[in-house]
C-alpha cells in the first residue's frame, strides 16, 4: 500500500473500468444499460489520457486537451443515442436490444 504510485496503477484502474464497460456493453439486455457501459469505457480512456499527461509529459496539457475532446464526443454520442432510443421505443414499445429486429429479413 505504501509503494509510490506509478503509471501502472492508473493504467490498471483504467483497464479494469474498461473491462467492466465491455462486459456491460456485451451482456446488458436493456439498451440504456449498454449506453451507460459505453460511457464507462469512454471514462477509462480519459483516465489513461490524463495519467499519460501527468506521468510522461508533466509540463504539457496535450493529454488533458485530448480528454476534453473525448468528453465532447461522448456527450454528443449519448444525446443522439438516447434520442434514437426514444424514437425506437415509440415504434417498438420495448427497451431490450434483442427485440430491435425491424431490419430482419
Amino acid at each position: 500500500m505504501n509503494a509510490p504510485l506509478t503509471l501502472a496503477h492508473y493504467m490498471t484502474v483504467a483497464g479494469l473500468l474498461f473491462l467492466i464497460g465491455i462486459f456491460g456493453a456485451l451482456t446488458r439486455r436493456n439498451i440504456i444499460g449498454i449506453l451507460m457501459s459505453i460511457e464507462l469505457m469512454f471514462n477509462a480512456a480519459n483516465i489513461n489520457l490524463a495519467a499519460f499527461d501527468r506521468f510522461l509529459h508533466p509540463d504539457g496539457v496535450t493529454g488533458q486537451a485530448l480528454a476534453l475532446f473525448v468528453m465532447t464526443v461522448a456527450a454528443a454520442e449519448i444525446v443522439v443515442g438516447l434520442a434514437l432510443l426514444l424514437a425506437i421505443y415509440r415504434g417498438t414499445d420495448t427497451v431490450y436490444a434483442e427485440d430491435f429486429n425491424l431490419l430482419k429479413g
Partner: protein, 164 residues
Amino acid sequence: MLDQAVFYSLTILTLASALAVVLHRNTVHSSLFLGLSLAGVAGLYASLGADFLFGAQIMVYVSGIAVLVIFVVMLLGRASDLHLRQVNERWMAALLVCFVAAVGLFKVARLQSNIVATGAAHPGTHDIGRLFLGEWLLPFELTSLILLAALLGAVFFTRTENAQ
C-alpha cells in the same frame, strides 16, 4: 501516504459503482451508480492534478449525462422490468472476451510500473485555453460542429411526426 490513501479509496469507489452499473437489476439504481462512478473518475482526475478536467467531468458527466440518462430511464421504465433478467444468455462469452482483453491490458500496464510522477502537479487551465485558441483552434471549432449536429439529430429523432 496520503496520495496512496486517496488513490485507493477513489479506485474502490469508482470500480465498485461501475460494477453496480453493469450488474444491478434495477436500471434506475444503476443510472444513479453511474453518476457515483463518474464522480469517482472526477476524483481520480483531481488526484492527477488535472484541475480543468475535474471541473469539466463534474459539469458534463455527473450533472449532464448522468442526469439525462436518469430522465430517460424514468421515461421508458416499466414496473415489470424489475422482474426480468437484465443480462443476456451469452455472458460466458463476454467474460471470455474480457479475460482475453485483461491479459493484454495488464501486460501493457506492467511495462509502465517503474514510471513515477516527477515534480508537483500544476494547474493546467491556462495552458489548455492557450492550446485550444492557438495551436488547436481548428479542431476546437470543429467540435462545435459536432455538438450542433448532435443537437439537430436529437431534435430530429425525437419529433413525433418522424417516428412513423
